[in-house]
Every structure is written in C-alpha cells, then in structure tokens.
C-alpha cells in the first residue's frame, strides 16, 4: 500500500517556480522532517498535500486514493491535517472552544438541530466539551480550558495547535515549524509531544529549521532547495552530505 | 439620430461618473478604506458652489472654492476620522460603518445648512446649448466632457509618471515598501483623500449646473461609480473611467429599448455577472492589496 505519495508536482506563481517536479513517498508511522533554506518550497509542499494550493501538474495519493482534486476539508476528513507557521488560532475563543470546533465529529454543526433539538444538542455539546477537555489534558493545557487563546503564552499556543490537530483525528499530521520561537523548556515539551504522537501511531511530516531538533525527532529527512527535492534519507545520511550542508548554510552558494 | 443623441448624452454622464469612479478608486486602492462618505463630499461640494453662486460669486470662483472645500473636507476626513480609527486597529467593517455615518452626517448638514429641496443654479448661460451635426449638447454638458477628460488624463499622468505619484502607488502595493519611499503613510493618505475629494467636487458642481441637485441622491451615483471601478479592475484608472462611460451609455441607450425604471437593476445585474465570471475586472493591471 502507498501511504502518501507525491508525484511530479510542479507549482509556479507568476514566473516564480515554487515546486519543480517533486516526487516522494512517505511510509506510515514515521516522522519525516522537511528541511531546506528559506524559499525552498517547504510550505508550498505542505499546501499542496493539504490542498491549500492546487498544483499545476502532478498528483497526491493518500492511502491508495488520489486526493489531488479533493477539497481541503475532505482531505482532513480522510485523515490529513496540518498546523500553521503563524498558528491561526481562534484568538477570541477559549482554549476549549478552539479544540471543540476542530473535533472530527460533525454532530451539532448545523443550525437546525441547534434550534429545534436543543436537548440533543446540549448532550452533544457536553460530550464534545469532555472530548476537547481530554485532548487539552493530553497536551498539558488541562488547567487553561476557559482561558481565551489570545491570553496563552506562545508555548501554550503551540501546544493548543497540537490539540486542535489531534481533534481532527487525522493520522497524517503536517506540523509547520512546531518548535520555532520556543524557549528551552517549551521546546523539550514539544519534542516529547511529537514523540508521543508517533508512539500513538500518527504519521508526521514536520517543517523544521533547527538541525539539532531534526536529529532528535526525524526518522527521514526530505531536503528541498529552490522548489526541488534534492535528497531524501535518514538524518545521518543528509547531515553527512557535504554538498547539502553547503547549500543549507549558504556556504558556496553562487549568490 | 435618436440613438446618436442618446449615445452622446450617455458619454457625457459617463464622464461625470468616471470622475467619481477614478477619485474613489484612487483613494480605495491606496488605503483600502471603503469610503462611502465620498458621496457625502460630492453632495457638499455641489451645494457649496450653489450657495456661493446664489450669494453673487462668479461661477469660476464658486467652482474653485467648491474644489477647495472638497480638498479640505477630504483631508479632514482622513486625518480626524479614518486615521483615528486605523490607530485603534479598527476592522474594515468598523471603518465602513463609520463612513456610512459620515455620509449621513454630510447629507443632512447640507440639508440643514443649505436646503433640503431640489435646487438649481441661478445662471442664465447654463440653459444655452450647442448643435453639432444634429446632436444637441447643453453648455454644461460640453463643459463636463471637456473638464472630465482633462482631469482624468491629469490624474493618470500624475499617478504613473510623476515621482510623487509613483511613490504613492508604491505605498499602495506594499506597506513595507513605504519605508523606502520615505513618505509618511499617514500624511500621504490624507493628501490622497484631499486630491480625491477635490476631483469629486468637479462633477458634483457641473452636474448640478447642468441638471439640479438634491442632498440625498448621491449614493446611487457613487454606487454606479464603484460598480464601474470593479468592472474596470480595481486600481486601474483607465479601467474605471472607461467602464463608467460604458455603463452610462448602456443606461442611456437602454431607455430606448426597455422601460427606464429597470436601469438600476440592469447595472447591478451586469455587476453581479462580473464578479461571478471575471472578478478581476476587464482592465486589471496590478492590485496586490489583499481584499
């Protein structure tokens, strides 16, 4: 079975090539880190996999199903979910509601039931609240349930993003720079969290800048440069490749 | 002959609407503020000129003072209202509601200070007319066509060719670029609204001279102008001006074919088609403001 296969994906914006004939396969149950210098196409590949941009050519196959032309929300329901580099929390909602609206369960998400079956809806709400609270507990935010997302610390906000993506019950989770901007303590918590997710059987695709973090979490590394996938391999293979290192750290770059 | 006359009348109305359209478009594409109160400034300027003429001022002086009144009220609007709201991180919705409030205030100030009734300029020359090849144009109509084209060309050249115009466009396309242009966006926005409001005073006065004025009808003019702006492509001055003429000619000719009472519905029908089929407009050049 193919778990996730991206084949010959190309995407241009105006004259700018964001992705150039990228193809790779991800195996289930592993943590794959997407690395590369700025503008390499890391976020673009996330957007293509989750459907936030449509590729000019190429296909995305998830669990033997061609998802290339599926809508964004349908991909989430199939099991592909993501976080954002700029978090995109619902700032005015409480931590609990942030998770609650992301729950995979569609019950209670329509106006008719809300207005005409209030007792049923109340029961659904109660169940969903419990479910969301459990997820918050899991990421260590159990004590912040009623706090508006805007008032959380940056580290807590990032954990809340994890809780939200867990709420979707997706098995393939794409994390866009989960550790950026975190202080040491919060950073360790996040790394632990990522390992926990893996232990629970989730497959992770992670954009990560910090090579030490990559060493700590990655099973595989995908190295992007100027829209092309230059290499895919174990962290050791990639870090030992001197040419990649030169590109990554800008040494020997022709510019 | 009937159709030719209707066509020419349509072009003239279109020129006047075109000025409203380019002036609205200029401010909107630079600041992103949906300035509904532009219609209020339109009304105000028309009545200022009317009152001055009634008080015995020569028409040219009245027109100039109306333009000045437009510039000042535009500057004040940005400086006192929009900037204050922007400083408080107001959402576009809040800006828009405040602008509707300002429109209401301006229209009713006009009604209170000047007159709530339909008024006409007391100037004998305005009913005179020219006959050119069987087409009749009133003197004010001829003036509208002439002045509109001059102003349209002037604003286009200013925006595209002059150094200041280019730097203003740079602010419009990218807020961060603004730093490189060494212009203070706050002051630039106020100047831009002053320029826009000075421009909109011209059709306000001239159409008033040609026909008559009423405090409460300018919103329809503005909405037609905005429809033209969107159909012509936001940010494109020739697009806005051209589409204004196209819409006005359609409206004028349509009277000969269908009952005139449906023409407003027709304009908005065209608009709905546009935003569903070709949301970027006909002549869109480049407008990178996130809408």
């Amino acid at each position: 079975m193919t778990y996730l296969a991206v084949s010959h994906v190309t995407k241009t914006f105006g004259g700018l090539v964001a992705l150039d004939d990228c193809s790779f396969v991800i195996a289930p149950g592993r943590i794959s880190c997407v690395v590369g210098p700025n503008g390499a196409g890391k976020t673009s590949i996330f957007n293509v996999v989750t459907g936030f941009i449509k590729a000019d050519t190429g296909t995305v196959v998830f669990k033997d199903k061609d998802v290339t032309s599926l809508s964004r929300h349908d991909r989430v329901r199939l099991g592909i979910a993501r976080t954002f580099q700029n978090l995109r929390l619902f700032e005015e909602l409480s931590a609990l509601d942030n998770v609650l609206v992301c729950l995979a369960d569609e019950a209670g998400n329509g106006p008719l039931a809300a207005m005409f079956r209030p007792f049923h809806t109340e029961a659904v709400l109660k169940r969903k609240k419990a479910e969301a609270a459990a997820l918050l507990d899991e990421v260590g935010l159990g004590h912040k349930i009623e706090v508006p997302a805007a008032s959380l610390s940056y580290g807590q906000k990032k954990l809340l993003c994890i809780a939200r993506v867990l709420a979707t019950r997706a098995e393939l989770i794409l994390l866009d720079e989960p550790t950026s901007g975190l202080a040491a303590g919060a950073l360790d918590a996040m790394v632990t969290m990522i390992h926990t997710l893996k232990a629970r059987g989730r497959t992770l695709l992670v954009v990560e800048h910090n090579t030490r973090i990559v060493q700590r979490i990655a099973d595989d590394v995908l190295f992007f440069h100027r829209g092309r996938l230059l290499a895919q391999g174990s962290p050791d293979e990639i870090t030992s490749n001197e040419e990649l290192g030169r590109i990554y750290f800008g040494r020997g770059d022709e510019h | 002959m009937l159709y030719l006359q209707l066509f020419v009348d349509g072009v003239v109305s279109g020129c006047a609407i075109g000025l409203v359209s380019i002036s609205f478009s200029y401010f909107y594409s630079v600041t992103g503020t949906f300035h509904v109160a532009h219609a209020g400034i339109y009304t105000l300027c028309g009545y200022v000129a009317w009152a001055l003429v009634a008080a015995g001022a020569p028409f040219i002086a009245a027109l100039m003072l109306a333009v000045l009144a437009g510039a000042l009220s535009g500057y004040a609007t940005q400086h006192v209202l929009y900037q204050r709201l922007a400083d408080r991180q107001a959402s576009p919705l809040v800006m828009m509601i405040a602008s509707i409030g300002l429109l209401t205030v301006l229209q009713n100030i006009v009604a209170i200070v000047f007159s709530p009734n339909i008024v006409q300029f007391d100037m004998p020359w305005r009913v005179g007319h020219l006959d050119i090849a069987g087409v009749t144009l009133s003197h004010p109509q001829a003036l509208i066509a002439l002045v509109s084209i001059v102003i349209f060309v002037g604003l286009t050249v200013f925006s595209a060719r002059t150094d200041l115009g280019k730097r203003i466009r740079a602010i419009a396309s990218n807020a961060e670029l603004a730093e490189i242009t060494r212009l203070d966006p706050k002051r630039v926005f106020a100047y831009v609204l002053a320029i826009s409001s000075a421009i909109v005073a011209v059709p306000a006065v001239l159409v008033g001279v040609d026909q008559a004025m009423q405090p409460y009808t300018s919103l329809i003019v503005l909405l037609t102008a905005v429809v033209a702006m969107i159909a012509g492509g936001i940010g494109s001055l020739p697009g806005a001006f051209g589409m204004s003429i196209v819409l006005a000619v359609i409206q004028s000719l349509s009277v000969a074919l269908i009952p005139g009472r449906w023409s407003i519905a027709a304009v908005f029908g065209i608009f709905i088609l546009f935003i569903l089929l070709k949301p970027e407009g006909l002549f869109r050049r480049r407008f990178s403001r996130a809408l």
Partner: protein
C-alpha cells in the same frame, strides 16, 4: 398650546397607568392633526399646520365651537406609515381625539383600518390617491381624488388638443395613479396612448426619456411628476419639436419657462379667503402668503368645526361616527375657498383647466366632474 415636557410626561404616565377613557372631556373640543412636520415633505406639513391652527384660532376668538374651546394636538408622522401608526395611537391614548386631520396617501391608508376599528374620523384634505375613496367608512376626503381630475383632463384633451398622447409619470404613488387614470379615461373617450415612460422620484436627468417621447411624435404629452419640474423644463428646451405638455395640480412649477409656453394643466378650484383674513394669517403666522395647502387645511378644519358645533349645540357627544354623520347631513359647505358637496365620504368640487400664456395662467374652463 405649548406644554412643558414635565406635564406631558405626567400625562403619558397617567395614560399608561389608567385604562383609556372612552369619552372626550366635555370642557374642551380636541382635534388631532397628524402631519409630516419633519422629513422631505416638511415644508408642506408646516403650511398645513398653519392652516389648521389659523382656523382653530379663528373659532376660539369667536368664543369656541358652540361655546366650547377648541384645541389641536399636532403630531409628526415623518411621512412614514409606521411612525403614523405610533402617532395615531399616541393621540388616542393620551388625548382621546374624536377626529384626526391627515396628510399623505400612505399615512392615511396606514391609519384607515385603525380608524375603522376605533371609530375615529379621519379627514384628508390633500392626498389624492384613488384608494382613499373606499379605504374606511371613517375617512372623509375634502379634495377630489386623482380620478376626478384625470377624467376632466382626458375629455378636454380629446376635444381640443389631439387623440394621440404620450405619458411621462413619476414612479411613485401620485404619478402612477395620475398616469393610470389618465390612460383609462383618455382611452374611454377615444384617445390613444402611443408611448409611456416612468421617471424616478428625485431624478434630475430626463434627457433619454424626453428624447424617446419626442421621437414617438404624439399630439401632446401628459406629465405627472411632483418634483424637479424646473430641471425637466430646462432639458425640454434642448429637445427639438417637443410636443405640448399637459398636467395636473402638481404641474404648477412648470409655469414660467420658455419651453412650456402654451402648456395646459388641471387645477382644483381653491379660492383665496377675504383679504383681511389673508393679511391676518400672514401676520399671525409670519409667512409670505397663504398657499394652497394652508387654504385647504383651513377649510377642512372649518368643516369639522361646523359639524362639531352642530353636535354640541344639540347636546350630543362629539364622537367620530357622530361627526361623520353630521358632515354628510349638512352635505354642502360653502366658503371663499370652495363649495364642497359630500354625496358620500368624498368631496365633489369643480376642476379647472388652465393654460400657460406668457406670464399668465389663463382659466379655460371650470368643470364639475360627475361621478
């Protein structure tokens, strides 16, 4: 007249606290006047108010209606039906008036069912829409409705002007009624409508419409608009060979333009009061002239007061129903303004046909329309 805000508030509270009393106070005769005192129609509303006030002052100066002092309660309808319903209820709750003088078709139509239900007489001295004819058994019209004018005009036009007509009408109540009725009567007497164009209320650019009408080459054009006649007259001046125009009471502002020389209009005969009264009116109310609406509202108020006087003199309570019956019983009311006859709830009065000749409006005919 003028009451403190405090005493009004007290009255409001008393009215809210107690059940509404069924009968008016015997010591005073109250008349309600629900007029557009604010909004676009306010200039007319103020003139109407002056007419009512002048009539009441006159009666009070002469010792009241059969000895009972008369007081008017004015209220502002803003020209809006929902505000009118509020005002109507306010007048009945706070003042229990037996009769209300109104203005504006929409206002009179909105309160007509309430008047029927609460048996209050509504007197309309100015609105002309045909629907008012049978809107309520408690609605009396002291002005001929649009259809009466249109009938007279249609017959005159066929006889003296031509059989092919075009119509320009304002797309609002008065204009639509005018156009519809004119078409009906004109066709009934053998005329033919060859073109018809509506214009919007508040429009000032009529060029396309005028060109289209002129291109149809009718014998004349019937114009039913209520505002911006001056702008239309200017633009008619630019259209070659525009046909002669005819209009109704609202067409008066067309008078005095080069382009409208020789036009016709109908008018409701409405004479001036005695010069002494007119100058007293101007002096008391500080206005330049006693206009059409002031005269009509003055006259309507006098009709109400005459009926009320008769009721009080015979010792009967002044209620809406009694007033209405009394007005129909008296039937004919003569004054310098007009001689009005009530066959039913609707006045029957002479209609004039006028022509613009130079600086004069010449009276061609005065006809009493037969129903």
């Amino acid at each position: 007249m003028r009451m403190g805000l405090f005493s009004k508030a007290v009255m409001l509270l008393t009215a809210l606290a107690s059940a509404p009393s069924a009968f008016a106070q015997p010591k005073e005769l109250l008349i309600g006047a629900l007029l557009p005192l604010t909004g676009p129609a306010a200039p007319i509303g103020i003139e109407e108010r002056n007419g009512v006030q002048f009539a009441v002052d006159e009666v009070n100066a002469a010792g009241g209606a059969a000895g009972v002092p008369v007081r008017v309660i004015f209220d502002d309808s803003q020209g809006k039906p929902d505000q009118a319903v509020l005002s109507f209820n306010r007048m009945l709750d706070l003042h229990s008036v037996p009769v209300i003088i109104t203005a504006y078709s929409s206002i009179s139509l909105a309160i007509a069912p309430l008047a029927t239900r609460r048996e209050v007489l509504v007197v309309n001295p100015a609105a002309q829409t045909n629907k008012l004819e049978k809107a309520s058994p408690f609605l009396i019209n002291t002005i001929p409705l649009v259809n009466a004018e249109a009938r007279v005009l249609a017959r005159y036009a066929v006889d003296k002007i031509g059989k092919k007509a075009a119509i320009i009408y304002e797309n609002a109540a008065a204009g639509i009624d005018g156009a519809t009725d004119f078409r009906k009567y004109f066709e009934a007497v053998g005329g033919q409508i060859i073109a018809e164009e509506p214009v919007e209320f508040g429009q000032t650019n009529y060029r396309a419409t005028l060109l289209k009408i002129a291109a149809a080459k009718p014998d004349f054009v019937y114009i039913a608009i209520t505002q911006s006649q001056a702008a239309m007259a200017d633009q008619i001046g630019q259209v070659a060979n525009f046909p002669v125009g005819i209009g109704n009471t609202f067409s008066s502002p067309f008078f005095g333009f080069k382009s409208t020389e020789g036009w016709y209009q109908t008018g409701i005969q409405s004479g001036q009061l005695e010069p002494a009264k007119v100058s007293s009116f101007k002096e008391k109310l500080k206005v330049e002239e006693m206009g059409f609406f002031a005269r009509e509202y003055y006259n309507a108020t006098k009709i109400i007061l005459k009926a009320a006087e008769a009721l009080i003199a015979s010792g009967r309570p002044v209620t809406g129903a009694a007033l209405r019956d009394k007005i129909q019983e008296i039937k004919t009311f003569s004054s310098p303004v007009a001689t009005i006859t009530f066959e039913d709830n609707n006045a029957s009065r002479p209609v004039e046909i006028l022509q613009y000749r130079g600086d004069k409006r010449v009276l061609l005919e005065a006809v009493n329309p037969t129903r």
